[in-house]
Structure formats: structure tokens, C-alpha cells
Amino acid sequence: MTHHHHYQDDHDHSHLSDIELRVRALESILIEKGYVDPAAIDALVETYEVKVGPRNGARVVAKAWADPAYREWLRQDATAAIASLGFIGRQGEHMVAVENTPDEHNMVVCTLCSCYPWPVLGLPPVWYKSAPYRSRAVLDPRGVLAEFGVSLPETTRIRVWDSTAEIRYLVVPMRPKGTEGMSEEALADLVTRDSMIGTGLARRPEEVAR
């Protein structure tokens, strides 16, 4: 029953893995003693955050655009469809893909815990972890989008998804116009990390310098 208890526990409370505990313990002591500056660590991590996983998520999205059967699978069982490409989370997170349409735009928020689908999106951006983003994304999603340079028609409904310990969301952005006949690989180049969080749109082919 230990496992069951643990699972229940995670419903209400946060949990850090052994390795996260080690990193936090070390980092907090180094910060307290003045050996490292938390802002400097964040800034350094930020330079690497786009280098990791977003390419994985981009491949998922590009495949969904190009392959209707895969798209359907992603709708029905995103965890399995994503795992089929080899992107599997450490904790076996349950993934849900939410698709943008002309009528509905999806945006994902979470907080400082580890609720971020990093196997597909890489390291969470610093702004994503910030308290203002989370609270404002819920209260004023259109305003937040505007700050990211995204303006949607008034008729487009914005849905904000709050990740939980069990469910991580992946936004499938709309396929840009003028991309008919493009290869999956070329399509993946149009898919940015922000477009999969919902704070951006996929790039148009002419925006991508090749």
C-alpha cells in the first residue's frame, strides 16, 4: 500500500525526487553562503533552455500536421503517441495534446513545481516559472498573449490549462498557411517552444531563414 499512499500524497502535496533534493540542498547552501548568485544561475540555465527538448515537441507537432492517423492517435492517447517517437518522461507523465483552431486557442500554465513536459519541451523558461505569469495567464490571458506579441481575433476563445501533478499539456499550434507539401522535418522548424506552450504561434515559412 506504500505506493498507493504515495500516489495519494502527490495529489495534494508537492514532491521532489531524490536528485532534485540533492540539487536544491546544494544550491540553497551555496546561495546562503554567498558562493553563487541565484539570478546568475537562472541566467545561465536560461541560455541552455532552448537547446534541449523543444525539438522533440516540434517533431510531435510536425508529425501531427503531416499525418492524419498520427494526429488522431495524439488526440486519443497523447502519452502513447508521444512515447512512440521515443520521448518518455522520467515519471511517466500523462500527456494531453490540446489543439488550436480558429475558434479556440490553448495556453498552458503551471507553477514552480516540476509540472512541465520537459521530455517534449526541454527546460522550462524562467518566465513560465514566475508567479506573475501564472496568475496573469489565468486572469488576463489576452493581455499576456499581447505581451508575447500575439493578438488573436476577438472571436477566438482562449482556454487556459493548468497542469497538475498527473497531467501535462502540449499545445498543438495551427499549421501555418503556405506549408502544403512541406516535409515533416521542414515543418518541425516552424514549431517554436512558445507555440507549444500557447504563448506563441507557429512561424510562417517566410519567417524561417533556411
Binding site: 514532491h15 551555496l30 541552455y48
Partner: protein
């Protein structure tokens, strides 16, 4: 030259850091990047030399291999973290005991934090 190249070169003699197609370091999980960034920050403050770092990393890898590490690259930054822990203990910055106590504090803090809230050390009920 990027800031990280010097320390990456020190590690390269022991075990090269994982790199992506563009040659930049890649991390599979957020904590890996944090461990990497902490090492770089300590190194830039001259708390250890590159040869001390290489030695610490080599020691951490040997200990892990002796303990049956799978050695397929997936545990790379675990060795890296073990190496910094050993170094800060050696240098008198944080003892093994201080690190262990602090892990306990974070664990209690996490359990006392409702899901969705930031986990802060002050949430530890024993603090």
C-alpha cells in the same frame, strides 16, 4: 569561446559532456542544467581549479562504476553532481552532513507545500 568551454574541456579528459548536433551542451532534465550552472559559477569564483574538478569528476565516476552504474550516459550528470558535492565538502563549504540535513529540510518543505505552490525552504515545518 563560450564560458562553459573551459570547464567542459576539463571534463572532456574524464568523460565529455553530452552535446547536441550544434555542439552546445544538452540537458535531459532541468536539474542537470542547474548542476552544470552551479559548477560553472563555483569555477568562475576560483573555488577550485580545472584539475581539481577533473579529479573530482573522475572519482565520482569510479565510485559509481564500482557501485554498478549502468554507464550508458543517462547518469552523466549524476556523476557531475556527486563531484560537486564531494568538492564542496572537501573545501569546507558544505559538509556531507550539512547537505544531508538540508535535503531533509527540502523534502519536508515539499510535502508541506500544496501542489501548485512554489516549494520554499521556509515551508519546512521544522525550520
Amino acid at each position: 569561446m563560450s564560458r562553459h568551454e573551459e570547464i567542459a574541456r576539463a571534463a572532456a579528459e574524464i568523460a565529455p559532456i553530452p552535446r547536441g548536433e550544434d555542439g552546445e551542451p544538452v540537458f535531459r532534465e532541468p536539474w542537470e542544467a542547474q548542476a552544470f550552472a552551479m559548477t560553472l559559477a563555483l569555477y568562475e569564483r576560483s573555488l577550485f581549479t580545472w584539475s581539481e574538478w577533473a579529479q573530482a569528476l573522475s572519482g565520482a565516476i569510479k565510485r559509481a562504476q564500482a557501485a554498478g552504474d549502468c554507464d550508458d550516459g543517462s547518469t552523466y550528470y549524476r556523476h557531475w553532481l556527486a563531484a560537486i558535492e564531494a568538492l564542496v565538502s572537501e573545501k569546507g563549504i558544505a559538509s556531507e552532513q550539512a547537505l544531508a540535513e538540508r535535503r531533509g529540510a527540502w523534502d519536508r518543505a515539499a510535502h508541506a507545500t500544496p501542489h501548485g505552490q512554489p516549494i520554499l525552504l521556509k515551508n519546512d515545518p521544522l525550520r
